[in-house]
């Protein structure tokens, strides 16, 4: 199926199964055999594969080689911050003192873990300019849910249950409206202006007694710093609403601006974006929630407090606690601890100076791409961009080559595709986020590839239209997959 040398992956586990093979030898029972329960409770149809250990290793290794990844390819997927994931972070998370502690062990047996969490809360509060931090949320969208539930709880506590509307920009990630709906809000769309900022007139119209708040991504998904942001926060607050910040794009702002200073009331961070924890093919993430003092009593449980005076961290140790008016427990335990260890490690190895050079170089790299490609790819918002640049393939479209085609052709050049067709307000959008961890040679090679593809769109549009040509599979029939869902292997096949 794939290039020479790799082992065949066409057979699934159940198809490689050979009766009698084992992948693990289990220990002998060292206690007397006990009576089994009623036979009706016991199963006789455990359909799991029988594969030897080398068989498992060979299969999964070969599968891994079908993937693009940060370690193997440039991965400029906009809004996803595909930066280098430091190996030391993983090693620290796997220390037995972290990986092998049980979440319900008493605090005296987990003081090291609690102290780490306490310090991380402090770091994230400092970076965002926020007073309260909860690490309990397990992904970005989970953080959003917690944050908007906190807004709801705040309004209800103020006897303001009539605030049912959540205003969300037309450029927002889908998680924003989905989270607002899960927290019981009615979503209203907030338009962007010609500069890509929140349209202040539109906001004024929405800013009434039924407005619960707005959810703003800063920089926006257009890769732009909203020049109206301070005014946006003022208008919302004046109307009695609250401002939620989606921290997906925080890589641009590390050390450059604090969302708390700008007027945000509650935000979430994506540690699997900004703070370098690996995406793992779609998770795990961590979505800590940071908030202003007025919302801190509502934070998701638990948070870590010091046992000293006023919850300060001291030699007297640390505990898990439930904020006074908490929206409740939002996950099984205390957050995705292994991810939190990685983020802590990252922040410590960067320190004050390093944090700022992350944002500086992320923004520099994005603007370098913007400048080098603007003559051949249409730039709908012609401004200095932040950590990512959004082009449109409108000019290529005139020659019958879509944004999708350009993106797919990049795969043939050995680059992962940018984010396509998002944000929704840009036609044929190609959203490119290089991150700070790519070097100039890589950026130059990527620029050259996009210039070559532009040329190909003139000379051989049909070839581009059918790209990719060199990947393990070509374009897949997604319509067939959705019309006739085949979601698991079945023996009859």
């Amino acid at each position: 199926m794939l290039k020479g040398g790799s082992r065949d992956t066409s057979k699934l586990l159940m198809e490689r199964s050979v009766p009698g093979r084992v992948g693990v030898v289990t220990p002998e029972l060292d206690v007397p055999v006990q009576p089994l329960p009623d036979g009706e409770l016991l199963r006789d149809n455990l359909d799991l594969p029988e594969v030897s250990e080398p068989g498992v290793v060979q299969y999964f290794t070969a599968l891994s080689q079908l993937n693009f990844s940060i370690d193997t390819q440039f991965y400029p997927l906009g809004s996803c911050t595909m930066k280098y994931n430091p190996k030391v972070n993983d090693e620290m998370a796997f220390l037995p003192g972290f990986a092998a502690i049980h979440p319900l062990q008493p605090p005296e047996q987990s003081q090291g873990a609690l102290e780490l969490l306490y310090r991380l809360q402090d770091f994230l509060g400092e970076i965002t300019g926020m007073a309260g931090v909860s690490l309990a949320t397990l992904a970005g969208a989970h953080g959003e849910l917690a944050g908007v539930l906190m807004m709801r709880a705040h309004h209800q506590a103020n006897g303001d249950a009539g605030r049912t509307k959540m205003a969300i920009p037309d450029s927002a990630h889908g998680t924003n409206p989905a989270s607002a709906a899960m927290a019981g809000f009615d979503v209203v769309t907030l338009a962007s202006d010609a500069e890509g900022n929140v349209d202040l007139e539109a906001l004024h119209e929405l800013a009434g007694p039924d407005l619960a708040g707005v959810m703003i991504t800063l920089p926006s998904t257009l890769g732009l710093f909203d020049q109206n942001i301070v005014e946006v926060c003022r208008i919302v607050h004046e109307a009695g609403g609250l401002v939620y910040g989606d921290g997906a794009n925080m890589n641009a702002l590390l050390g450059r601006a604090k969302l708390g200073d700008l007027g945000f009331d509650v935000i979430h961070l994506n540690l699997h974006k900004t703070f370098s924890t690996p995406h793992g093919g779609g998770g795990p993430g961590a979505g800590p929630v940071c908030c202003a003092p007025i919302l801190a009593p509502y934070l998701a449980a638990p948070i870590v407090t010091g046992n000293g005076a006023n919850g300060s961290g001291t030699d007297s140790g640390y505990s898990l606690s439930i904020p006074e008016k908490s929206i409740g427990k939002i996950g099984g335990y205390h957050g995705n601890f292994g991810v939190l260890v990685r983020a802590y490690t990252y922040i410590r190895t960067l320190g004050d100076a390093g944090i700022k050079s992350i944002s500086g170089n992320a923004v520099l790299n994005a603007n370098y791409l913007l400048q080098a490609l603007r003559d051949i790819y249409y730039l709908p918002y012609d401004r200095t961009c932040m950590h990512e640049v959004v082009f449109s393939a409108d000019w290529q479209r005139l020659r019958g080559v879509s944004g999708l085609d350009v993106a797919k052709r990049l795969l043939d050049y050995g680059f992962h595709a940018p984010t396509m067709y998002f944000p929704l307000i840009v036609h044929e959008a190609l959203m490119i986020e290089p991150t700070e961890s790519e070097n100039r040679d890589t950026l130059d090679a990527f620029i050259q590839a996009l210039r070559d593809i532009n040329r190909e769109s003139e000379e051989e549009p049909d070839m581009v239209h059918h790209a990719p040509h060199t990947t393990p599979v070509s374009r897949l029939d997604e319509a067939n997959a959705a019309r006739h869902p085949n979601l698991r292997w079945r023996p009859s096949e």
Binding site: E478, A479, A482, R483, H484
Partner: protein, 129 residues
């Protein structure tokens, strides 16, 4: 060119009178709509017997990466839905004005059809888009 034997809505549904005495109307979506949607993968439709109301949501149509509401062009009771669409939603891509019909409705008031666009009006409406 849309067929002139039926009427059209601004939401790209069509309604074709099949049987005047029985007030039976065939309902579907237009060629323009199926083209905009791309490969259609699923219809979420009410069961026969359900009442539908002119220009109120009657169901959903899904393509691979989009969901759109379907609006009923007429008020009345659903007599039948096109069962073929369960396994072959692509019929609507292939033949939106024919085999890709969506449902049959007994219209409450035949004059409701007069309020819909003619094929000429609809083609102009779409051409202007």
């Amino acid at each position: 060119m849309s067929p002139d034997d039926r009427k059209y809505t601004q939401e790209h549904e069509w309604a074709k009178l099949e049987d005047t005495d029985a007030r039976l109307v065939l309902v579907g979506i237009t060629e323009f709509a199926q083209d905009e949607l791309g490969d259609i993968v699923y219809f979420d439709l009410p069961a026969a017997g359900t009442e539908v109301v002119h220009m109120e949501k009657m169901g959903e149509v899904e393509s691979v990466k989009a969901v759109s509401d379907l609006f009923s062009p007429v008020t009345g009771k659903i007599e039948a839905v096109n069962e073929e669409l369960v396994n072959h939603p692509e019929l609507v891509n292939d033949d939106p004005f024919g085999n890709g019909w969506i449902m049959k409705v007994t219209i409450s008031d035949l004059s409701e059809l007069d309020g819909l666009m003619t094929s000429t009006e609809y083609d102009e409406y779409v051409g202007g888009n």
